[in-house]
């Protein structure tokens, strides 16, 4: 019996080693190319509805004024925040990237998600944190991945992973109907979110011609084609117009 166990154990170890070896990722070229740019915003800046948090005094107390919806956040310099920019296609079919060991954190603080838009790699841990200490449910309305809907009635962190690429997974809290976040799940690390200055950067790209997509929850998507070689930096700007 013990012999059998040893044989099985050896077999399993060998199989696992083989699996690990064949899945050896192609590491992005050290340095590599960079695509960066800004997301401009033109036209009328829409007024965002105010969020009434009077049902949740703990959250309400975290704001000076009245918090507003984050469906459109236009920065002071006229750029658009919360745009998810990523490599949609152009990577070689054989290209794979290992999921980083560290998690991506989504925090529920002040009855809002931080960040509002985020990216994650397939297999990477999403740490969902409740800093509010009041009931939030977090529902991932995934389509390509299996969805989930879990409860967090206290200060706690839950961890979830996603098996398949999906742009975007809608995250929401049903206790607080205004709470929305958007998660892009990709098989690589070439994604970014436009920040407070409207800029984004995709680093470490292998040489090639890429389709870059910029996604915004209200204004939809735009694409650009960019070719990078060596360690050069290329610019790709996007512009969304208010309606």
């Amino acid at each position: 019996m013990r012999k059998l166990g040893a044989v099985v154990a050896t077999g399993v170890v060998l199989a696992l080693a083989l699996a690990a070896w064949t899945r050896q990722p192609v590491a992005p070229a050290q340095g590599g190319g960079t695509i960066s740019g800004k997301v401009k915003f033109t036209g009328a800046k829409p007024a965002m509805p105010k969020i009434d948090m009077s049902e949740e005094p703990k959250c309400k107390a975290k704001y000076q004024g009245v918090p507003t919806d984050e469906a459109v956040v236009v920065n002071a310099n006229g750029t658009l925040a919360n745009v998810f920019v990523y490599v949609k296609s152009g990577l070689p079919a054989s290209y794979t990237a290992p999921a980083p060991a560290g998690p991506v954190t989504l925090d529920q603080d002040g009855c809002r998600y931080h960040p509002h838009v985020l990216g994650i790699q397939v297999g990477q841990a999403l740490a969902i944190k409740n800093s509010d200490g009041i009931l939030h449910n977090i529902k991932a309305k995934a389509k390509a991945n299996r969805p989930f809907n879990i409860s967090q009635p206290t200060v706690m962190t839950s961890t979830k992973t996603f098996d398949k690429p999906e742009v975007m997974v809608a995250l929401e809290c049903n206790v607080h109907g205004w709470m929305h976040a958007w998660l892009g799940v990709l098989p690589h690390s070439f994604f970014g979110v436009s920040g407070g200055d409207g800029s984004f950067t995709l680093k470490g790209l292998p040489p090639g011609t890429y389709t870059i997509e910029a996604w915004h929850e209200t204004y939809g998507t735009q694409t650009a084609t960019v070719t990078v070689a060596g360690s050069e930096t290329k610019t790709a700007d996007f512009s969304f117009a208010g309606k």
């Binding site: 019996m1 166990g5 154990a9 309305k141 969805p147 009635p153 206290t154 049903n174 206790v175 109907g177």
Partner: protein, 523 residues
Amino acid sequence: MISALLLLALRAAPFPIPHSPFPVQDTVKGKAVYVKWCAGCHGDGGAGDGAAAAYMLPRPRNFTGGLYKIRTTASGQLPTDADLERAIDEGLPGSAMPGWKGRLSQAERRDVRAYIKTFSSFFADTSQHVVALKFSSPPGGGTSVAALKVGRQFYDSIGCRKCHGDQGRGDGPSAPTLKDDADFPIFAADLHQNWRFRGGGSVEDIYRRLRTGLDGTPMPSFADLIDQKFLTDEELWRLAQYVRSLSPKTAPEVRDVVHAPQIPGTVPVSPDDSAWSRVARSWFPLVGQVIHKSRWFAPAVAGVWVQALHDGKTLALRVSWDDRTESPDTAWLKFEQRILETVAGDDSAPGPKAEPWPDQLAVEFPSHLPQGMERPYFLMGAATDPVYQWRWTSRPRRAFAGLARGIERFDTLPGAPAGEATYERGEWRLVLTRALATSDTANEVQLEAGRAIPMAFFAWDGSSGEHGSRMAVSTWYFLALDRPTPPGVFISPVLAMLATLGLGLVVVRRAQRRGAVPSHRNV
């Protein structure tokens, strides 16, 4: 070590499936069953968009996402075959989905289950682990005060009341904002009506829903809370037991007759008078009014509880029903709008626009007690054969009476019942009182003891867009005003018993006397 490795091996590759003793599930035959019986609601492509779907709330299941409410698997996981089998066999209470056990053969049900699974690619994806969770057994003492107190404590601490409300009637502060994954409006369950729970109303069913959540709805899984030691498995059971305790011990049976006992003194006029706690209540289910335009397919009031008393001069009728809102309530206006946009009416309906309608209730009688079984048309009478109705509205808060001559015409009468109503945490309690005999014998029903008085109910929830013909209706039932029991009823059995006793004694005496005298025998 060996067992751990075996476990690993098991996880990596399941054993080859042995030959099933059952015939192979046939998706071709399953399709034929589906097209005939299911597609009308669930749609040809299984997207939950059949011809009848637009009239339903909740909408029929969309099979394409492989997302199911009632499962024994973890949040977001596919259901097991047994889960699907249960839904097909038993149906989903409180929705339009009937049970098919008596209507389709076992083979048909099995085939259609196989076919339904073809609508979502997830079922064919071998990386999906469909594993039924292991559920513990309920701890004892579930109905004790201490157990229910623990359950209630967690009801509060894990935030159930946010949607289900303080008393569990689905009226929590977040309730008017709720929507399902397809953005249709969805009600937080009324926890006082467990016989309408989609996945069953037993304490085991409730516990399972707490563990698994209801996928596609706002109801999350609470399983992680056990892993994170926020509560114990036993405490989750206590919560399930508390939720179970909110509903009656057994699902209400619909009886034809409401008995109004006669009481000494005068009838209670307040809905919260303690006298009502000693009177049996009867449940009358209501359904949407789908006969006349404009029709209404999504009634908000599932039924009414009715109690009745009289004192020889006056009848008091207590009607209570669950309603998430004290309409009109501006907090629910957006919800009402979403309901009107979701539930199709018919061609005659005006464009859907939410308005601050009040809540309403009507109690209907024939204007004269019928001699035989002939009764007026239950749905508000007819032009030539009117019905006498008591009507009550939440705003303005008043009760009045009149003659209905069909759905469109209501003529108010000068005489009105007295009405007193209380709204509290998702429940209306209304007492209507009126003299048994009135002077307007031409129009107002004269309530006589010992007669079967036909009675029907109608309810409107203003915040669900209900008004006019958009309402919930019952069929005819009966009200019986009981006569005080004549003394003879109590005395005659006693007299009979005494007579029997006396006769018995005589017989025994005689027998004893005979036994005492030595019998003569011929030697």
